[in-house]
Subunit: 425 residues, 2 copies
């Protein structure tokens, strides 16, 4: 009997968790990803706001799986799945063959931004999912200050110094806080014609409060912390127009134009194309509906995890799109597969053990919601740092990020204020 | 009387050295650069070979000059000089005005690659001057290993595992050594189908020896060290053809085709367009011929320094294109200008105090030529590291780079193996 072949598409939190837990098992594993690195997305906003360098929050997938002799890694872009012939179709990458056969398939392809059908807004309001998104946003933010410094009219100066962040979830809150802090702290003495502290940072949220996944008390704490940093928070404000010169926002009664050269999208996410590849049933966010063991109904050999899947917890509630959920799902699928291959009884349905959620706002300002206890301020901020550093992959990254944070905290300087990439000369 | 206005174009070693030494003087200074950061070019090859991150060897110009209240910084691309009206023409940058008037002008615009009239080779054989060059070359090198891993034929595999570096100066020697080491050390356990140690690194030099600026004994030491790392050194070999599939090299008697997917250009440099802007006399590398005080003959208000200038030392010998020369010239011009403005006597003609030159090859292998003493091996390598770290701008960068090197040395891993940028998905 030949060994089973498990193909895992995507090396994010879910895919990597499955792969590492299949290391050493009596199976062949292939991990396919479009990129050669695993990205620690929760800290990506710090790259976008010049706090960290890309290499500090990304590790080569090969290096992570180096010792797993039964796991191979392929750099390639999956464009489809043939679930009849049990093959994955790969394009664009380095692979010369086009199809890879599988016995079991784990789809952990994550999510991308959703512009709610207004994809034309993307050019003016980029989102934050990849490293190149982050260095691109960093370029926009830093260039806006440069243009403000060089502007000839007060009106233009104001436009360049206005930053609009759309979406009051963790990404939006963290971005808005970090931009305000960059302007008020790190860039403080850098210019001659402008005072960066005059920068106007507007956080626009359509719902009635920030951080809807947290308790109302913490939402309010986040709003207050942002206000203290000088961020204007607009709740109940929906974006109706978005272009290179600014956004139009409407609250119930009023419509208002915000002239801004730098707009950042932190609003919707939509699952990747996995549901489309499988021809499977999906929810309104494009996530594949999966059963209690995370497999596709009618296809016990196909699993979807993380942001790719719409899964219900044992209490019947849908699972949130969080890194710990994806990680635990990856580990769970590995367990299911190990049992299946060894002909052992299947494990109990997937259940998520949530420890809590956190978001950071700025220097000594964060919120943490553990269910049984809700904290904000300095303690939450320290905890946030500790947890995020400890989950970084690679001992070196942990050390270097910690040193970088300590350094920035002490010196009020940020580390990676480089304008690089296309169009930066 | 209004204060004099000094415009410095370029914030490399020369320009920055002039600017910092004019801080606090009774003049207004404007520094114009196309980029928002000063780049420590001697370590750029380590970014290209995945050892360091861009932010570790680059510092924002504004941050460096933050405390110099009489110095302003402009992000912009100079496209010309009107020496009649004493204005600099700026384009493409953030500036809305197009012309900046000067009383004194310092051109420190550096050099770019020269393909000796074969500019069509650039696409296949990129050079290394900017951060985006370095991350682009890093992407090419890492992708080549990925493609080799996925290749279907032994021939393709060999092509992807062949790296050709053109030019046996410090850049070429350091690049070739670093690629060989990356393959033999850091990537060693990362692949399943290939053994990265089989990578073939060929260093092609048209002249009779490597590192022509060093003593013949050190050239030979460098060649031996490279050989020990597995690098094939081809001396007296001229490149006659260069395309995406490989290069054609010819020695006196033979012509040989090297099939390679990754070619790196470390050969010629040519000065930037300064001579063209000024309509000035230039040497065959495009450098402006300047007088003993580094000013343009007939234009005592215009100075050229660093790679922009062809200057003679007090002994009549032309000065080499080295970072320390540029730095000392920047400091010298600042002194000349301070004297001029204060109506003091002009300083003596520029004289370069050279301490020596160094190049590194790999782990515990480097050469250092101090004139009176020539060393190679571990001691030269340690010295090289010490000197390069100490010249990095920013205390944090020094610490972080040192830790990174220490870490890589101890763990045999390299830090920034990320494939990013256009085309990397």
């Amino acid at each position: 009997m030949t060994r089973s072949h498990i193909v895992i598409v995507g090396a994010g939190f879910g895919g990597l968790s499955a792969a590492t837990r299949l290391a050493g098992a009596d199976v062949d594993v292939t991990v396919i990803d479009r990129r050669n690195y695993h990205l620690f997305q929760p800290l990506l906003y710090q790259v976008a706001t010049a706090g960290l360098s890309p290499a500090q929050i990304a590790s080569p997938i090969r290096a992570i799986l180096r010792r797993a002799a039964n796991v191979r890694v392929i750099l390639g872009k999956v464009t489809g799945v043939d679930n009849g012939r049990r093959t994955v179709i790969v394009e664009g990458g380095t692979l010369e063959e086009r199809r890879i056969a599988y016995d079991y398939l784990v789809l952990a392809t994550g999510a991308r931004h959703s512009y709610f059908g207004r994809d034309e807004w993307e050019a003016a309001a980029p989102g934050l999912k990849k490293i190149d998104d982050a260095t691109g946003i960093r370029r926009r933010i830093l260039t806006a200050f440069e243009r403000a410094e060089a502007a000839q009219s007060a009106e233009r100066r104001r436009q360049f110094l206005t930053f609009v962040v759309i979406g009051g979830g963790p990404t939006g809150v963290e971005m808005a806080g970090a931009i305000a802090e960059l302007a008020r702290v790190a860039l403080r003495h850098d210019f001659r014609n402008i005072d960066p502290r005059e920068a106007r940072v507007v956080l626009v949220e359509a719902g009635p409060r920030l951080l809807a996944a947290f308790s109302p008390r913490l939402s309010e704490a986040a709003r207050r912390s942002l206000k203290r940093l000088g961020v204007e928070v607009r709740l109940g404000a929906r974006v109706s127009q978005c272009d290179a010169e600014g956004v139009m926002i409407g609250t119930e009664s009023t419509r208002e134009r915000l002239q801004s050269a730098t707009i950042i999208w932190g609003a919707g996410v939509a699952a990747s194309s996995a549901a489309h590849w499988l021809g499977a049933e999906k929810d309104h966010n494009g996530r594949v509906m999966v059963g209690p063991d995370l497999s596709l109904p009618g296809h016990p050999e196909i699993f979807c995890i993380g942001d790719t899947a719409h899964a219900l917890d044992t209490d019947g509630k849908p699972l949130p799109g969080l890194a710990p959920v994806a990680k635990q799902q990856g580990a769970y699928v590995a367990k299911v597969l190990r049992a299946r291959i060894a002909d052992r009884a299947a494990p109990k349905p997937f259940h998520y053990r949530g420890w809590g959620t956190m978001a950071t706002i700025g220097r000594r300002a964060a919120v943490a919601d553990f269910g049984w206890v809700k904290i904000d301020g300095t303690l939450a901020w320290l905890l946030w740092g500790l947890v995020h550093v400890s989950f970084l992959i690679g001992f070196r990254n942990r050390i270097v990020v910690m040193l970088d944070w300590l350094w920035s905290y002490v010196t009020f300087q940020s580390g990676a204020r480089l304008i690089t990439g296309p169009g930066s000369h």
